[in-house]
Amino acid sequence: MSTAPQKAKSGAEKLDVKVTAVVPLNELVTRFEFQRRDGELFPPFSGGAHTVVQMVDGDRTRLNPYSLMSDPADRSRYAISVRRDDEGRGGSLFMHRNVKVGDEMVVTYPVNLFSLDLRAKKHLFFAGGIGITPFMAMISQLERTNGNWELHYACRSKALGSYVDELTYKYPNKVHIYYDDQKQAMDLKQLLEGQPLGTNAYVCGPKGMIKWVHATASAAGWPDANVLSEEFMAPEPGAPFEVRLCQSDKTITVGENESLLEAIERAGVDAPYLCRGGSCGQCETDVISADGEFVHRDHWLDDVEHASGKKIMPCVSRFIGKSLELDR
């Protein structure tokens, strides 16, 4: 195998890797570490980047994005942490149950849709649960340049607090932990008030937390440009529906547990994608005709576009109705 990246169809370029460590952190979260099979160094990345992991599960291939959480300065390995989601579509369960040390896998080059704004005078991180992962890499990156940061991290309980021990040991004055089961809540209003001009806030966690931070900051007079967020979005299961792909002249059925994008790919049609989480815009697809209702879940199209019924982001959005024809 040459060291040159293979450009295989859509998505970022691919890297052949093997699993070098599988480290259970607690009941729900396991860390997976990869090395390149060709022994080369990984491409560099910046904190907040993600990789798309290809999971070959029998005749089904899943492509799920995960934040890179290893130190960006360590190019010998990539690491991700995966939270088991028993209700999800099976990607995280596959990682937890099937992936073993020594397995060969394929991951993509890193893509960053949640990067640090290095012009900021201070970086204020808000993490909820598994939303800690991008911050692990951002913190390593900032520590090397003596960056000014502070982390506020909400976890369900001590037992489920991934990386809490490591973070509080290394950075006792910068890391603040809040346990839900001990009713420890962030005093967000107060926290936001005391920040120096030029502070950027970053949020990664459940939807409710992201909304809460945006709304509270905005009410406190923070400019929108200073609050950045990444929602962990996975496609949601839903009722099966039929789609006509006009360019490829195919009619496909999107199964309950697969996304529209996955169904298109399963039919052998190459469709563009990058993040597979509704935020990069790469998969935007024109609707030729539709009789029914769209279930838009992306962060890419605006409300007007959503209402127009002219576009869909197949990585996360679905459709309920009689017929849907796409320009693909």
Partner: protein, 203 residues
């Protein structure tokens, strides 16, 4: 009439909006001359209770009207240069949550925006509203000297004396439009000056 509709231009040219009251506990308003009208338009007792106004009248008589709004703090300065140390001090002592409102001439808004950017503001996070004079703060791209209050195009650089063409190319870092020698290839061949926005043959 203190409002002027600037013609649309290249992306470098700043565009100004209309001030709107934002939520938050601290508001810094910096205005010159007719810029006072924009503050009078947006003012409410609630907003004024948390507002610090820094105002440079430039010979107008709006100061008393602004004072009558009873802002939390009110300062009248003779010139921008005389007010800038106060602006810096307010920024130094402020935290996130401070809202900035700039109104009046382009030169004032550009320079105050530059101070705010150095303090950590994104330029897009600063509200602006143009009122009053349409004169520009110009930088000569040749000698780098700044000429204030330029109304005519072309004009003579007040530092090096070159004949400069008024461009819409703007530098946020210098808070100034760029002026470029208009007769470099054919010295002395300088078209007649006209108002910057006057209709007629484009240079």
């Amino acid at each position: 009439m203190s409002k002027f509709e600037f013609p649309t231009s290249i992306i470098s040219r700043p565009v100004y909006g209309t001030l709107k009251a934002r939520s938050g506990k601290h508001h810094l308003m910096i205005a010159d001359a007719e810029g006072a009208e924009a503050i009078l338009d947006v003012a409410t007792p609630d907003l004024m209770a948390n507002s610090h106004i820094i105002y440079i009248p430039l010979g107008t008589d709006y100061a008393d009207k602004l004072r009558a709004l009873s802002p939390a703090q009110f300062y009248v300065g003779p010139t921008y240069a005389a007010s800038v140390s106060r602006i810096r001090r307010v920024l130094e002592r402020s935290n996130m949550g401070l809202n900035i409102y700039l109104s009046g001439t382009e030169g004032l808004m550009g320079q105050a925006q530059n101070e705010a950017m150095q303090a950590g503001f994104a330029h897009s996070a600063i509200q602006t509203e143009h009122r009053g004079s349409i004169a520009r703060r110009m930088q000569c791209v040749h000698c780098k000297g700044i000429t204030e209050d330029v109304e005519m195009d072309p004009f003579v650089c007040s530092h090096c004396g070159l004949n400069l063409f008024v461009r819409d190319h703007y530098s946020r870092r210098w808070a100034a439009y760029q002026g470029v020698c208009i007769d470099a290839e054919d010295p002395g061949n300088v078209p007649a000056s006209k108002g910057i926005y006057a209709q007629g043959d484009e240079v």
